[in-house]
């Protein structure tokens, strides 16, 4: 699976802006994603970002905070989409509920919640109709069952190349920070679209480098 995923991932950077690869698809999430989710938190993040896009958000803010002193990892996605009523918020954590007609069961948030709770964490959803939704998941950073963040760059690129909303991204880890806003990138580019292949290449490198700069020590060292 993984090699096919990797191949698909690479191909998607070369094909058009709509990423069709199995693991990083904004357009058509496949069940295969779920099998990979427990091995990589970035796929959960992709799922939440996708919810925001489907809710008509024009701006999504993703914040990843890794605090080694308090041993917490938090992932927060806030959007300005159409929001949900209290009743909808209650239902969204129910695995048998989804607003989508193409998939019978909406597993995204319930599975993310289970992953967080398994690692002494929690997942909360706050929302206001017409204003937007915020999803926040927390984990014990050093918990043995906490999956690594995984390919965050791939997730961010999928959202950026889908080109449906602005993305404000902040990753703080152990005193270091990487931040960017697609609105500022767009302002600098002027007429050139974000999906232009040269821009895409540059973005990929820029984000990968930024992420590398805030990556904390290899997970396996936690046990030794």
């Amino acid at each position: 699976m993984s090699s096919a995923r990797d191949a698909g991932r690479q191909e998607s950077w070369m094909s058009d802006a709509k990423c069709k690869c199995a693991s990083r698809s904004i357009e058509s999430p496949e069940l295969e994603n779920w099998s990979a989710c427990m091995r990589e938190l970035s796929l959960h993040i992709l799922d939440i970002l996708q919810n925001s896009i489907e809710a008509g958000a024009t701006l999504v803010e993703l914040t990843i905070e890794e605090d080694l002193d308090t041993d917490r990892l938090s992932i927060t996605v806030g959007d300005n989409g159409r929001g949900m009523s209290e009743a909808q918020v209650a239902r969204i954590l129910d695995p048998f509920y989804t607003t989508r007609k193409t998939r019978h069961v909406g597993l995204g948030l319930p599975l993310f919640k289970v992953a967080a709770e398994r690692c002494n964490g929690d997942l909360t959803v706050t929302s206001q109709l017409g204003k937007g939704t915020t999803v926040r998941a927390t984990f014990q950073h050093s918990h043995i069952d906490r999956a690594p963040l995984g390919d965050v760059t791939g997730t961010l690129m999928s959202v950026i190349l889908a080109n449906k909303c602005d993305l404000h991204y902040i990753h703080r880890a152990d005193g270091k920070e990487f931040e960017f806003h697609t609105a500022s990138v767009k302002a600098e580019l002027g007429e050139i679209p974000l999906t232009h292949h040269k821009v895409r290449q540059w973005l990929q490198g820029f984000i990968a480098e930024g992420e590398a700069g805030v990556t904390v020590t290899s997970a396996s060292l936690r046990l030794q």
Binding site: S2, D145, S220
Partner: protein, 111 residues
């Protein structure tokens, strides 16, 4: 049964720590939750999983597993392989589903 023979019988691909294949396999354990493996697997067991990050090496090392079978065609991350080589933990890969690996091990008399 030695790990080497198990690898041969199940046509597993040996990815790391060739030098440790003479380990005696004392049994098997199947799980993708590392905490359960740490709590339940016994020394000398072969662990069957689809987890591929480098924490699996740390767990195997900590509880002295004889090896890890990464099943279902999952490709272990380069960092995982590197760490496993260093620590002398054999990682073996297969396209077989975890259920099939466990079943075949049972058939071979590994209980």
């Amino acid at each position: 049964m030695k790990l080497e023979e198990l690898a041969k019988r199940l046509e597993l691909e040996v990815r790391t720590a060739q030098r440790k294949l003479d380990a005696e396999v004392t049994g098997g354990y199947v799980s993708d939750l590392l905490s359960w493996v740490m709590a339940k697997a016994q020394a000398g067991n072969v662990w069957i999983t689809i987890q591929a990050h480098s924490n699996i090496v740390a767990v195997a090392n900590l509880i002295s597993l004889s090896g890890i079978i990464v099943a279902e065609g999952v490709t272990p991350e380069p960092a995982t392989l590197e760490k496993a080589e260093q620590e002398g933990i054999p990682i073996l890969t297969t396209q077989l589903p975890m259920y099939a690996v466990a079943g075949k091990m049972h058939e071979l008399g590994i209980r």
